[in-house]
Symmetry: C2
Subunit: 144 residues, 2 copies
DNA sequence: GTGAACAATGTTATAACATAACATAAATAA
DNA sequence: TTATTTATGTTATGTTATAACATTGTTCAC
């Protein structure tokens, strides 16, 4: 959270109340959260925030690399490596619902190589591997 | 199309009228199509097919590896390598809206390696790189 | 300080994507 | 043929995301 504040300050970006609350909600969850889950959390008390507000906050947070969107789940998760902009690669376990962000230097290199072979200029890189994490696999989480 | 028929015959799977029509629609488009786009196409004449029917056909076609879903676009595209089940890796150009399926042996290897390093057992592999294809980049398609 | 310009939020409505649940019909097996 | 399974029809609803425009708040030049 300090990191987020520092980062926004450095960029002259405003980490407002609602953005902070959304970020906090996303960070508080190990599992990826849907936008409407986040919304429900914010509105748990007396709230009456609208979906738009959450989506706008998420857009802001994504722009600044504090949150990632998991396309395969329509869900959002806090960035584990909130440094400069980076490609996000995720391992998504259907057993424990975890999504682990991985720092894949080798993978990144392989992707780059493949792209340049095609002359393709990348802008967004989505890599999401679904399956079972080591723990859940050992536990014998069933197929379906 | 012959391929699809052969493949289904071999497996005892029934490539019915509606499934065939959906496959044809998806194949006819270079660009990925949304489910409701496909639906609109089928219903262009006298039709009155419901969304469910399209989604069910798509599920069938995906099970048999004839169609892929692009998670980042909520769209579907015909498989360019309709052989055995394979991980689908796509290059998605925002200029010409094309989605190119790539046969990335090296990339596949890199992914495998990374996964085993994490002890992660994969089931579904989503790799979608968005950006500009060589042609659109050369044309100077602008940022936004 | 005042006012212009921009940034953020509020508000309402709707678009776009996807599935649940149950009924009917068609194909296959026994 | 009857039973069983597979596919489709039908209606309704759930889920995710954006459009459009009004209002409020912040910043900055003057
Ligand atoms: Zn990250
Ligand atoms: Zn797990
Ligand atoms: Zn394919
Ligand atoms: Zn292109």
């Amino acid at each position: 959270m300090r990191t987020a504040e520092a980062l926004c300050a450095k960029r002259g970006a405003r980490l407002t109340e609602i953005r902070r609350r959304v970020l906090k909600a996303v960070w508080a969850s190990h599992a990826p959260m849907g936008a409407y889950d986040i919304l429900a959390g914010l509105n748990a008390g007396t709230g009456k925030i609208a979906p738009m507000a959450v989506y706008r906050a998420l857009d802001f947070l994504m722009e600044h690399g504090l949150v990632h969107r998991l396309a395969s789940l329509n869900a959002f998760i806090g960035c584990a490596l909130a440094t400069e902009n980076h490609a996000a690669h995720f391992l998504i376990c259907r057993g424990c619902k975890s999504a682990t962000e991985m720092e894949g230097a080798a993978l990144t290199r392989a992707v780059k190589k493949t792209l340049s072979a095609h002359g393709f200029v990348p802008e967004t890189e989505i890599i999401e591997i679904q399956g079972l994490c080591a723990h859940c696999h050992k536990e014998g989480v069933p197929k379906t």
